[in-house]
C-alpha cells in the first residue's frame, strides 16, 4: 500500500490480493457458464446446418414431403461413367440402369437411408400417447395420495425414497424390466395359453394367461411410463402442494369430503401445472432409446401399425362385422411393434456403413426429432403462461 497522503482517495481500489481473486473467480464462473451456452449452441447449429437442408426445400411446398410422409427404405445410388449420380428407391433402379445402358458404371445400396421417416414418427407418437396416458394416471393418483391422504411418517419417507430411486435407475434397466414384465409375463386373455406362460388361469370362456404382450407399442409404452413416472409424480406433487392450504381447509369447513375437496378445490388449480410438467415428460419419453429397444422398437418395418392384413370381409358382411373389424384394426395398432425416432437414429448411426447418404438421413431424423421436442417445450411454456393467468389466487 502506498503511503497515505492528504490527497489520496481513501476509497481507491486496491489492485492486489482480494480484488484479484475476486476478478479471477468471476471470470472462472463466467467462463463455465459461457462454455455451457457454447456447447448447446454448437450442437443446435450443427444439427440445423446439416439437418435443415434435408427437411426443407427452396421451392414450394418448402418441406421435403417425401421425407416426412414415406416409410424408410433402401436407397439405390447409380453412377454413370461421367460421374453423375442418380438416387432412387428399390423400384426405380432397374429402369435407370436400362436407360443408362452402356453408360452405367456402378450401383450402391444404402440401407434405411431412402424414403422418409414416417414410420419412426408414427411409432414415437404412439409410444408417447400410451406412456403419457399410463404415467399421468398412475403418477397423478400417486401424487394425490402422497400429497392429500398419506400421513407424514416413516412409510411416506419410504415411498419418497422409492420414487427418488426410480428416477435414478439407468434407462437400460428399465428396458430389461419392461422385457421381463410386459413382453414376457404381462397377463392376456387367450384361448390356448402358450407354453412359456408363467401362470394360466382358466376363466371358462377364456384363459387369463401370464405370457406377456410380446414386443409392441403397449409393452414399450408401459415401460416408458415407468421411466417418466418419477418426473410426473414429483412435479404433480409440487403442483398440488402449491395450491394454498386455505382452499382445503375452507372446502372441508364447508362440509366437503376429502375427495370433494380434491376434486373441486385442489385438482382444478393444480391441473395446469401438472399438464405443463407432463409435457416435459413427453419429451423425455420420446427421447428414450434403451427402454424401447427390447420392448417395442424395430430397426426396420415396411408397414405402418394400422396396415395389417386382416381376412377380407365377405361382401355381405353386416355393419356389426365391419365395426368389429375396425375396432380390431384400431386395437391392433397397440399390439404391433413399431419403429421409433430415437432407435431409428441409433440404427442409422451405428448399424449401417457410414457414407454421405446415410449421414443425410441421420441428420434429417435428428433435426425432425429436435423440432418435435422444441415444439413440445414451446407448447408447455405457452400453456404455463396462459393458464397461470387464468388461475390466480
Amino acid at each position: 500500500m502506498k503511503s497515505k497522503t492528504d490527497h489520496a482517495n481513501p476509497f481507491a481500489g486496491d489492485s492486489t490480493g482480494i480484488q484479484k481473486r475476486e476478478t479471477a473467480a468471476r471470470w472462472a464462473l463466467r467462463a463455465g457458464s459461457y462454455l455451457v451456452v457454447l456447447t448447446t449452441a454448437a450442437i443446435m447449429l450443427h444439427i440445423f446446418v446439416k439437418g435443415a437442408p434435408v427437411v426443407f426445400r427452396s421451392e414450394w411446398p418448402f418441406v421435403n414431403t417425401q421425407f416426412l410422409t414415406e416409410l424408410p427404405s433402401q436407397l439405390h445410388v447409380i453412377e454413370d461413367k461421367q460421374g453423375r449420380r442418380y438416387e432412387t428407391g428399390v423400384n426405380g433402379a432397374d429402369a435407370i440402369k436400362k436407360e443408362l445402358g452402356e453408360n452405367y458404371r456402378s450401383e450402391k445400396t444404402i440401407a434405411y437411408s431412402g424414403g422418409g421417416i414416417l414410420g419412426p414418427i408414427v411409432g414415437t407418437a404412439l409410444l408417447v400417447i400410451v406412456s403419457v396416458s399410463v404415467a399421468l394416471f398412475l403418477g397423478v393418483a400417486c401424487a394425490i395420495y402422497l400429497s392429500e391422504y398419506a400421513k407424514h411418517g416413516k412409510f411416506l419417507e419410504l415411498i419418497r425414497l422409492a420414487i427418488l430411486n426410480l428416477a435414478g435407475v439407468p434407462s437400460v434397466v428399465f428396458g430389461l424390466f419392461g422385457l421381463g414384465a410386459f413382453v414376457l409375463t404381462a397377463p392376456v386373455f387367450v384361448d390356448v395359453p402358450a407354453d412359456r406362460s408363467v401362470l394360466a388361469i382358466p376363466l371358462g370362456f377364456t384363459t387369463l394367461s401370464f405370457e406377456g404382450w410380446d414386443t409392441c407399442v403397449l409393452s414399450g409404452g408401459f415401460t416408458l411410463a415407468f421411466v417418466i413416472l418419477p418426473v410426473i409424480i414429483t412435479a404433480s406433487e409440487q403442483c398440488l402442494q402449491a395450491v394454498p392450504q386455505g382452499f382445503r381447509e375452507t372446502s372441508m369447513a364447508l362440509g366437503a369430503t376429502r375427495w370433494q375437496t380434491i376434486r373441486y378445490s385442489v385438482l382444478p388449480f393444480a391441473t395446469p401445472g401438472i399438464l405443463t410438467s407432463s409435457i416435459l415428460g413427453i419429451a423425455r419419453a420420446a427421447g428414450e432409446t434403451a427402454p424401447i429397444m427390447f420392448t417395442a422398437a424395430l430397426a426396420f418395418k415396411d408397414k405402418l401399425p394400422w396396415q395389417k392384413d386382416l381376412p377380407p370381409l365377405p361382401a355381405d358382411a353386416s355393419v356389426f362385422a365391419q365395426w368389429e373389424q375396425s375396432l380390431q384394426r384400431f386395437l391392433g395398432i397397440f399390439t404391433e411393434s413399431v419403429q421409433a425416432l430415437p432407435y431409428h437414429i441409433y440404427t442409422l448411426a451405428a448399424k449401417i456403413p457410414q457414407n454421405e447418404y446415410s449421414e443425410r438421413a441421420q441428420y434429417g431424423s435428428v433435426f425432425v426429432f429436435l423440432v418435435l421436442v422444441a415444439a413440445l417445450a414451446t407448447v408447455s411454456i405457452w400453456m404455463r403462461i396462459h393458464l397461470r393467468k387464468k388461475y390466480r389466487w
Binding site: 386455505g246 375452507t250 372446502s251 369447513a253 364447508l254 362440509g255 366437503a256
Partner: protein, 263 residues
C-alpha cells in the same frame, strides 16, 4: 341495538361446553384442562397472545384441526347441544355444516362469486339451479354484499376488494345456515373501514348465529363481544363479561394483558 327476544331455556343452557379439554400436536400439548361454556345468545371473543391455544380451540370445535396429522384430543370433551363432538359416531361432514368457519386470510376460491357462495350447497348435493340462486341471494344479502355484486355474480371472486372477499367468505359459510359461526381473526388482513363493516355485520347477524371470534384486536373484542375469554399458554385464565374483563378483571395476568403490560 335492541336484543331479540330469546327463549329463557335456550339462554340458560350453554350451547357449547368445553370440559376438561386437553389437546396436543403429537407430544406437544397445547391446551390444558380447559373448562368453558358458551351460550347461543352470546358473541364470545377468545383473546390471548400468539400461541396461547385460542385458535386451536376454535379449530377443534368444527374439527377442522383433524386435517393436521399429529393433532389429537388427549382427554376431555367438547359438547355442542350436549353431543360429544369427538364421539366416534359423529359425522364430521354434518358437524361442519352446522358449525361454519371464516378464516383469517380471506380466501375465496378462484371461481365466480356465485360459485363461491353456493360451494357448500353444491358439495352437499344440491343441484337445482333455482334453489342455488335463491340461497346465493339470501346469503349474499345477509353478508351485506348483494348490492355490490348482484350485477357481476359470474365474475371471478378474486377480483373483489379484500373486505368484499371476506364478506363473501362469510356469505359462503352462512349459505349452509349453520348454528355456530367460528371466526379466526376475521379482520386481521383488512383495513379499518373493511373491519368496521365486518363488525357491523356480526352485530347484525348475532341473533341468527352464535359467534365465536378469535381476535388480537382488543378494541374489537370490546366492541362486539358479550363474553370474552383470555387464554395464556394453553390455559384459560379468565372468562368474563366483556366489560368486566376489560375494566375490572379478576386475574392480575388478564389485567396486565388487556392493559398491554404483559411481557
Amino acid at each position: 341495538m335492541p336484543s331479540a327476544p330469546v327463549p329463557a331455556s335456550v339462554s340458560a343452557e350453554p350451547l357449547i361446553q368445553v370440559e376438561k379439554f386437553n389437546y396436543a400436536y403429537g407430544d406437544h400439548q397445547v391446551l390444558f384442562d380447559l373448562d368453558l361454556n358458551m351460550r347461543s345468545t352470546d358473541v364470545t371473543a377468545l383473546i390471548g397472545p400468539s400461541g396461547c391455544g385460542k385458535s386451536t380451540l376454535l379449530r377443534a370445535i368444527n374439527r377442522i384441526n383433524d386435517l393436521v396429522d399429529s393433532a389429537r384430543v388427549v382427554s376431555g370433551r367438547i359438547r355442542v347441544d350436549g353431543v360429544d363432538l369427538y364421539a366416534p359416531e359423529v359425522d364430521v361432514i354434518s358437524l361442519r355444516r352446522n358449525v361454519g368457519m371464516v378464516f383469517q386470510k380471506y380466501n375465496p376460491f378462484p371461481r365466480s362469486i356465485f360459485e363461491n357462495a353456493v360451494y357448500g350447497l353444491r358439495v352437499a348435493g344440491i343441484k337445482n339451479r333455482h334453489d342455488l340462486e335463491e340461497a346465493a341471494e339470501r346469503s349474499l344479502r345477509s353478508a351485506a354484499l348483494w348490492d355490490e355484486v348482484k350485477d357481476r355474480l359470474h365474475e371471478m371472486a378474486t377480483g373483489l376488494s379484500g373486505g368484499q372477499q371476506q364478506r363473501l367468505c362469510i356469505a359462503r359459510a352462512i349459505a349452509l345456515r349453520p348454528r355456530i359461526l367460528l371466526m379466526d381473526e376475521p379482520c386481521a388482513a383488512l383495513d379499518p373501514i373493511a373491519t368496521a363493516r365486518i363488525e357491523e355485520l356480526i352485530l347484525q347477524l348475532r341473533h341468527e348465529y352464535t359467534f365465536i371470534i378469535v381476535t388480537h384486536n382488543m378494541e374489537q373484542a370490546r366492541r362486539i363481544a358479550d363474553r370474552t375469554a383470555f387464554f395464556y399458554k394453553g390455559r384459560l385464565v379468565e372468562e368474563q363479561d366483556t366489560m368486566k374483563l376489560f375494566t375490572a378483571p379478576d386475574d392480575p395476568l388478564t389485567e396486565s394483558y388487556v392493559t398491554g403490560r404483559l411481557t
